[in-house]
Symmetry: C2
Subunit: 279 residues, 2 copies
């Protein structure tokens, strides 16, 4: 099968590795706005050739749209206008806007909206890795708006990637990811800025920073080119969660200010409830 | 050498494993306020026998005080009164109070204040692991107040544990750990409460939570019995950092509210600077 990957970075590149390895993709065409990324993807063997968007879409049986979500929205109309029997899937972190956009095209049925819940704080073709996605969840949104054969092909792709599929509507998806992904990134960015702002003696941080600090600020290395468009699109949900998060932090602050350590213990005990969710 | 471990949990137990394995400790005596923990430590072979505090201190060449810091402060006077030639080291997360406390005893020179920068979100003897501490930093505070032979013994212990030693005064230590450890725990607890509070459909979190979420809330599993006393003792420094952190979060909030995405990009770009510190 001919697969076109639009955006040969962390996600697109990692998908290409597995789909070639499993024999699903006999030929992978890469499309990328960055010449450097395109060239690197070719060198790394993530893709077999580099083409421009139009011919790549024409040649492909499956088109995987794996750019940051603002670029995905700019490119989707161009793709949908060209699409005939091909299947198009996106992998973006928000789903409401792109589903609405896709609905404006008569080829809507060929499009499947998805979001694989895997990533790292790195980006670009060099960040692509073998064995990504395995045992993680992926979301397929508004399945009923896609043709049955298109959904079946996408389900096969995620099966090969080793992911389990959760079906959800686009609005519900966007609310949930505000909690389980977007807010973690904001707290991590803010935590990095807190430390960088106040702690001038960076050597001391470097010496003392242990595993706990590393795991909470790891996400702060994430690329703004990916994350600004996500926060832009999921603004209302993210603001809701961010307000709640600031309110929760204020409770800890009030405990310390008032030296109310019984309530502090209660707050921590409550937070321990996350054990039910994260093993 | 006879080693007494007061508090045979994550830290004390993990130290016992290595110190026995390396032949430094020929005999390890465990002391613990919890009968269950003491019994478990004996069963797991972390310690060779269980005793009460007085006789354990008398018998030991080295006493490692590894309880939560509130208990450590309650026990330190009892130990310091008994100490003659023995060396006493603590491993608590705050250093100013315990150093001040130790200074009230004529045996002050036998005490070495330390803080190994390693831990996990788990506690108790079953959480103790082999190979803990390796390649991490440990702090020795106010070295000049300890006898040279006592410092030398503690340096030897940390050498065997595979740690590199950073020397610092107690006040400086408490400021730095507010940044690199204590605030990470507060944001993690608050993040867990945010999600648990607002997101009622726990199944959805469970399905969708990916690595990023897991790493930011991991610390929220940490034990309140350990952390409340730390926040209590380092209250002023933690409040300083917490205020700054809330101010940083408010900047992200303002960006979203005002749709100022240029500034949002700038804030994220700044946060990326953490790459200089965390590889």
């Amino acid at each position: 099968m001919n697969v076109a990957i639009i955006g040969v970075g962390l996600i697109g590149g990692s998908m290409a590795i597995t789909l070639k390895e499993k024999g699903f993709a006999s030929h992978v065409t890469g499309v990328d706005a960055s010449e450097t990324h395109a060239q690197k993807a070719l060198e790394l063997g993530l893709v077999d050739e580099i083409m421009t968007l139009g011919p790549a879409v024409k040649k492909a049986d499956l088109i995987i749209l794996a750019t940051p979500i603002n670029a995905a929205e700019a490119l989707l109309p161009l793709i949908m206008q060209e699409v005939d029997k091909q299947v198009v899937m996106d992998v973006g972190s928000t789903k409401k806007n792109i589903c609405e956009l896709a609905s404006q095209f008569k080829s809507r049925g060929r499009f499947v909206a998805t979001h694989p819940m895997w990533g790292t704080e790195y980006s670009g073709p060099e960040a692509a890795i073998k064995g990504a996605f395995v045992n993680k969840a992926t979301v397929i949104c508004s399945k009923e708006d896609s043709d049955a054969d298109a959904v079946a092909m996408v389900e096969k792709v995620y099966g090969l990637l080793g992911m389990h599929i959760v079906y959800m509507n686009a609005e519900g998806h966007d609310v949930h990811v505000a909690y389980v992904s977007h807010i973690s990134h904001i707290t991590s960015f803010a935590l990095a800025n807190t430390v960088l702002e106040k702690e001038r003696e960076e050597d001391a941080i470097f010496e003392l920073a242990s595993g706990g600090f590393e795991s909470t600020v790891r996400l702060a290395k994430s690329n703004p080119a990916m994350w600004v468009p996500i926060f832009m699109q999921n603004r209302d949900n993210v603001l809701d969660v961010l307000n709640e998060h600031i309110a929760q932090l204020r409770k800890f602050k009030a405990c310390l200010e008032k030296e109310n350590y019984e309530y502090l213990e209660e707050l921590i005990g409550k937070a321990n409830g996350i054990r039910r969710i994260i093993k």
